[in-house]
């Protein structure tokens, strides 16, 4: 049973560029959440997707957008990258209505 997978593992971009991160949920899960984890901090909720729609959004600007596909996989897009966007981006999947979320290994984004 495959767990949550994310790609790529690492990414280096420069300020002003755009980036796309990808996530495949755990088998049987239909809901995907994205979190940003700055160095030395706990993860911060970006948004959650269910039935291909954004269901809830955290306190992040519109530069952060996402998408969920019919197979439940998801993308996180960040436009006009800032130095402060450098972080570990975590994807978590769950079943709608279930309490727990299962995390992927994350994508380390470095913005130079």
């Amino acid at each position: 049973d495959a767990g949550v997978t994310q790609s790529p593992t690492h990414l280096i971009k420069t300020r002003g560029q755009q980036v796309t991160l990808r996530c495949s949920p755990k088998s049987g899960h239909d809901t995907v959440s994205w979190y940003q984890q700055a160095l030395g901090q706990g993860p911060q909720f970006i948004f959650q997707y269910y039935e291909e729609e954004e269901r809830q959004r955290g306190n992040f600007p519109d530069r952060f957008s996402g998408h969920q596909f019919p197979n439940y996989s998801s993308e996180l897009n960040v436009n006009a990258l800032l130095l402060g966007d450098s972080a570990l981006y975590l994807c978590a999947s769950s079943l709608v209505g279930a309490g727990e979320q299962f995390f992927g290994p994350g994508t380390r984004l470095t913005v130079l």
Binding site: Y35, P43, Q44, F45, G99, E100, Q101, F102, F103, G106
Partner: protein, 117 residues
């Protein structure tokens, strides 16, 4: 808004000993979940244990157990017979119950636990 506070940035414990990590939270909700997640240096966030607020019995998972004090809004994690593989960041997290219209996990800042041989 919910907040989660972990007051111990770092802790250490001798192998085979017992250690307790503290967590307090603030919420006006009555129905919610609490979690402890472990994040080793490999970065993968792993669920250690969960507690539903309506359950009075404290959750246990093998060597891991919690002390859930709902009135005090306290949720500590006890690790018994500590092993070297327990070395990791530990995060306490809160989620509103289903039906509350909120699906996000709110995390504390974490406690770095080192198990010493």
């Amino acid at each position: 808004a919910q907040t989660v506070t972990q007051s111990q940035p770092e802790m250490s414990v001798q192998e085979a000993e017992t250690v307790t990590l503290s967590c307090t939270y603030d919420t006006s909700e009555n129905n919610y979940y609490l979690f402890w997640y472990k994040q080793p240096p490999s970065r993968q966030m792993i669920l250690v244990i969960r507690q539903e607020a309506y359950k009075q019995q404290n959750a246990t998972e093998n060597r891991f157990s919690v002390n859930f004090q709902k009135a005090a809004k306290s949720f500590s994690l006890k690790i018994s017979d500590s092993q070297l593989g327990d070395t990791a960041m530990y995060f306490c997290a809160f989620m509103k119950g289903s039906g509350a219209g909120s699906y996000q996990l709110t995390f504390g800042k974490g406690t770095k636990l080192s198990v010493i041989p």
